[in-house]
Symmetry: C2
Subunit: 323 residues, 2 copies
């Protein structure tokens, strides 16, 4: 079977949005005419998480977090989630309790509710979480496709912590003082719902969450908007410890931060004159040209061949710069 | 690990509904304050379906059908669905196409849309479908818990076809002329969305879909309403061919129809004076007393020990009457 994106393309070609649906397959979330946003993301052991390194609480947290992030990327507010839980025989009642305690803690922090779902026997632990959110009063959900030439690209926080944390799990001496924080960033990603709402209210014209790597997600936003996204690699804020981990394994720190994935910060296109909160970091801009991302360093295009992560059965190594 | 219902009880004890949620875990669907209903049901190969007997199209159809049925059981109208698809290595692109073509055909028939989802590698084929529906204008979603003593219990159509169809798959000579229709009822269940809406508009005070067997689902409705549900076994309409299949394998036809599960008709409690459409069949009533179901035949309580099906890795044999 082909890669995940090819499967999604085949599926999108088979289904048609009908009455009441503004946006179907293809954005971070679907949008109904009344501003309701809907998303469903899966977390499967051995694909997105590993029970060898992720506790049941980490897995529960992550499964809800990635869905809240999809709602955040629309500038919307999460309301309710449902969980389809595939339980293998070696999962105990205490593990289920721990998963749901972590999900409930995250739900409470976002003033949202877990309202139902289903449970089934399964050979592998899997969580399919569906989420519903609502756009704030007077605000339309922010799509990937609304950017205009001249817009500034901003991210809501430093990148690379999750990828560096994953590398720390495989390299017991890496990370130094930041090791604990990096691993925590990998095991317990924090969705940026408040930032997403503020960006929507500040006039963001396009937005996406950085789930698969800044370059890959910028590429998606750029293609959806029909523009070139120019990313200045050295302007991308890197989380503390990312440089140390990159140095320890001999890879390029900026590329690790920009292709590593799973940071769940938000990438948004803001009009050039829009007010910008101090936590926002300008990482590039949009301009006319071949639709897609270009990663620049000191004026040179060093866009790597692999822009980010596509989950197909496990972790990929970090991208390397071209020679 | 304990049974599915015990897992759901543990989960329900860990999560709390917050603002905007009228009904959380415990009904056919959750309900938001604005009348939005939400459900998520899983279909897993080897648990709910079998790839040896179900085609990819059957599996896709079933996964969406059971979710539409949950919305129907609230008296609501399905609007949009999302699919979390776990794909094992031996599923081909044509299988995915067939699954989504069947889902899309059913979605079109209900004027609803498939709006997104996720795809992941998985050791087993699994579909977690989340659905959103809306109550018709001026109608509140119908819960399991609203029945009152004296209400009449009705079902929207004959029962037992799916269970008899499953038996036909295992008994090549069973079913006679009805064999094809019975197998089709098992492989392609038809959710009763229009009937659900009409029942809500006709004043149904409680409703549930008959997914796990009439007796088990009547038991759930009765317990949620704090009443005794008295089912007259011989008043329960049986689908054509059910008696022949029951005869061929030497089981009680009425009990097969009332405990077999997966018919996806609706069971509703109507006020005694409510108008009843001709397709509705009265199967019993609600009265004060120990909460739960009682199955009566000729004035004798013959409630079986096992009321219906709980999916835990495969099919169960049909219930036998007590000696």
């Amino acid at each position: 079977m082909d890669g995940e994106l090819e499967v999604i393309r085949r599926i999108a070609a088979r289904v048609a949005p009908r009455g009441g649906v503004s946006v179907g397959i293809g954005d971070d979330a679907a949008v109904l005419d009344d501003g309701t946003v809907l998303a469903l993301d899966m977390v499967v052991d051995g694909v997105h998480v590993r029970r060898s390194t992720h506790s049941p609480a980490d897995i529960g947290h992550t499964a809800l977090a990635v869905n809240i992030s999809d709602v955040a990327a629309m500038g919307a507010i999460p309301v309710a989630a449902m969980v389809g839980l595939g339980l293998p025989p070696d999962i105990g009642a205490g593990d289920v309790d721990a998963m749901y305690a972590a999900m409930e803690e995250l739900a409470r922090a976002h003033a949202m509710s877990i309202v139902g779902g289903d449970v089934s026997a399964s050979p592998v632990l899997s969580l399919s979480v569906a989420i519903i959110g609502r756009a704030p009063e007077g605000i339309r959900p922010v799509l990937r496709s609304g950017a205009r030439a001249g817009d500034v690209l901003v991210v809501t926080g430093p990148l690379g912590a999750s990828a560096a944390g994953l590398l720390c799990l495989d390299h017991p001496d890496a990370g130094g003082d930041a090791r604990g924080a990096l691993i925590s960033a990998h095991l317990r990603p924090q969705p940026q719902a408040a930032h997403g709402r503020h960006l929507a209210e500040a006039g963001a014209r396009a937005m996406i969450d950085v789930s698969d790597g800044l370059l890959l997600d910028a590429d998606r936003l750029a293609r959806a908007s029909g523009l070139a996204a120019i990313i200045d690699l050295e302007a991308v804020p890197r989380a503390p410890g990312v440089d140390a981990v990159a140095g320890a394994i001999g890879t390029d720190a900026a590329l690790l931060a920009c292709t590593g994935g799973e940071d769940y910060q938000l990438l948004a296109a803001l009009p050039p004159g829009a007010g910008r909160e101090p936590h926002l970091h300008v990482v590039g801009h949009l301009e006319p040209g071949a639709a897609g991302v270009r990663a620049m360093r000191a004026g040179r295009d060093i866009t790597p061949g692999r822009l980010g992560w596509e989950h197909r059965g496990g972790a990929s190594p970090p991208a390397e710069p071209p020679p």
